[in-house]
């Protein structure tokens, strides 16, 4: 089957067309640009470049896989909104995958693995995986120092360095990693397209109104 893979949960803007048959997934074409400020501008042109390079139309894809985060909210939503609209317009299922799972699926290490990406505010999004790359903990959002590293020899993801253990590739989700992580899900009904925000919106209920008379009559 042909799968469109999209992810905007990290500074990388990722679009690819992946062939999935009996063997490992193969990228037919992909575009990955690292630019944390231009997800909305870059994603769709990159996807159209991908389709042109692969000699395919958007409607030729059998399914869409999208990284559901966790990731900085505004960028993350670009990929999710794009995937949802493509799926609706083309009449194709859209499967969300945890973006950290996509990184883990491609990690160049043996044994248990940690994946960490940038959550800003001096925190990381992280998850833990067993040797078979099944997620055993997470995703969570915490300070790097609070991530339990005992029993893990290696970490992947753009914030792997911050965990103080051996660092392995990749730093960002790839189209092949996304499809590999979604492999089982692609056989069934798609899960709801819900982003993994992990944080509540910043919003404070207004307190008691300040006096205008005691503000010097301003």
């Amino acid at each position: 089957m042909l799968v469109i893979a999209l992810d905007t949960s990290t500074p990388a803007v990722t679009a690819g067309l992946v062939a999935l048959d009996d063997g490992p997934p193969r990228a037919l074409a992909e575009r990955v640009t690292v630019n944390p400020r231009a997800h909305g501008e870059l994603l769709m042109p990159q996807l159209l470049d991908v389709m042109t390079e692969a000699g395919r139309e958007l409607g030729d894809a059998d399914a869409i896989v999208v990284g559901a985060g966790p990731g900085p909210f505004t960028g993350l939503r670009v990929g999710m909104a794009t995937a949802a609209a493509l799926g609706q317009a083309c009449g194709r299922p859209v499967h969300p995958v945890c973006s950290l799972d996509a990184i883990a699926a491609q990690a160049t290490a043996e044994g248990p693995l940690l994946v960490a990406t940038d959550a800003r505010r001096k925190e990381v999004y992280w998850a833990a995986y067993d040797a078979a790359r099944a997620r055993i903990d997470g995703p969570h959002v915490q300070r790097p120092a609070d991530v339990p590293t005992d029993g893990f020899a290696a970490a992947a993801g753009e914030m792997a360095e911050a965990l103080g253990i051996a660092v392995v590739e990749p730093r960002y989700p790839t189209p092949v990693g996304l499809v590999a992580a979604a492999r089982a899900a692609l056989q069934g009904e798609p899960a709801p397209l819900v982003p993994l925000y992990l944080r509540r919106p910043d919003a404070a209920e207004p307190g008691k109104r300040k006096s205008v008379l005691t503000r010097g009559g301003k």
Partner: protein, 351 residues
């Protein structure tokens, strides 16, 4: 080029997710086919104003279902759509990006042109769905929680020029703040309007902002009015007197409606324009429309106010503007178009 064309509009600049469908006829007239809106207003109520992140999350969740409702309402399928228009700005950055990303994907998947259009122009264009074509020149007064602007419109798909705007709070924002002062619910427009009908508009002489001889003729200011209301209420409370809520509301509303209509009518006269369109969420306010009707009649100006449902943010207004720019022969927007929270009023279509 003579066949009817179906234009889909997507709106996500604030707290309403809107999808609308219109039909552009060969003669340039535009007909409403569907108008589906999902609002996150209730989720913002306890914060006393729109929380951008809450709005953005709601847009993402609501986009596909709202699209489905609009299509069902019109009896059309996405494959019937000939062009897509989306609000490119102005508005909340994160909220706009959801609509723009979705619109690009719909346009690419359907292989139809995409127009990133101006939200403010949409508020004017929507009136053509109700009252037919606009004259070549008209004046528009946009009043809502996010905008308070006077626009000179010379061809709705062609040229829009801002001739005045608020220098501080939007009119709707002043309503929300005054509602809070009086312990009335958010959004403040409807409860204040309701109370005002029971009160005396002349009870309290609240200030009319920027109406001095040297003030900018067409600009507005509502911050001083809001502070004056707060000070008046607080003084009364300190004196141990009960607050006459209906009179405060009526007097406040009178001050808002007086300034808005006086400046709009003056601008129409100065610019020799004979049609005034009032749109935006506050256009539904009873005193504003009443006073505008009275003053326009006295000045010989034709007043056009779309029905309340069309005045608030929706996708139909964006579809309507999209239809007019399509009819005017505008070039489509590129797929790398950014959402622009500060899109200038004069930019009708992003190129």
């Amino acid at each position: 080029m003579t066949a009817d064309r179906v234009v889909l509009g997507i709106e996500s600049s604030c707290d309403e997710t809107g999808v609308g469908l219109v039909r552009l006829a060969a003669d340039g007239t535009v007909e409403l086919l569907a108008d589906a809106v999902a609002s996150s207003v209730d989720e913002h109520a306890r914060f006393g104003g729109v929380v951008p992140e809450i709005a953005s999350r709601a847009h993402l969740a609501a986009m596909a279902p709202t699209m489905r409702r609009a299509l069902d309402e019109s009896g059309l399928e996405l494959s019937d759509v000939d062009a897509i228009a989306v609000t490119a700005g102005p508005g909340l950055a994160g909220a706009l990006m959801v609509g723009v990303a979705a619109a690009k994907a719909y346009a690419a998947a359907l292989d139809v042109p995409l127009f990133g259009v101006n939200h403010l122009g949409g508020h004017v264009a929507v009136d053509t769905l109700e009252h037919g074509p606009l004259p070549q020149r008209c004046l528009a007064l946009l009043v809502s929680g996010g905008h308070t602007q006077l626009l000179l419109v010379e061809g709705i798909g062609e040229q829009v020029t801002e001739i005045g705007s608020t220098i501080d709070d939007a009119a709707g924002e002043a309503y929300d703040k005054v509602a809070r002062i009086l312990d009335l619910p958010y959004p403040g427009g409807p409860p204040i309007d309701k109370q005002a009908k029971l009160g005396n508009p002349k009870a309290i002489a609240f200030p009319r902002g920027l109406t001095g001889p040297r003030d900018a003729k067409y600009d507005f200011s509502f911050s001083g009015l809001k502070t004056a209301v707060a000070r008046w209420v607080e003084t009364e409370q300190r004196e141990g007197r009960e607050i006459p809520v209906a009179d405060v509301c009526a007097s406040f509303q009178e001050a808002v409606a007086d300034v808005l209509t006086a400046k709009a009518v003056r601008a129409a006269r100065d610019l020799d324009v004979d049609t005034l369109v009032i749109s935006g969420g506050v256009a539904a306010n009873s005193r504003l429309s009443e006073l505008a009707a009275q003053r326009c009649a006295e000045a010989g100006i034709t007043l056009r106010v779309p029905r309340p449902r069309l005045c608030t943010d929706n996708g139909a207004m964006i579809a309507a503007l999209g239809a007019h720019v399509l009819a005017a022969g505008a070039k489509p927007s590129p797929l790398d178009m950014p959402a622009n929270p500060g899109l200038p009023v004069g930019t009708i279509v992003v190129q």
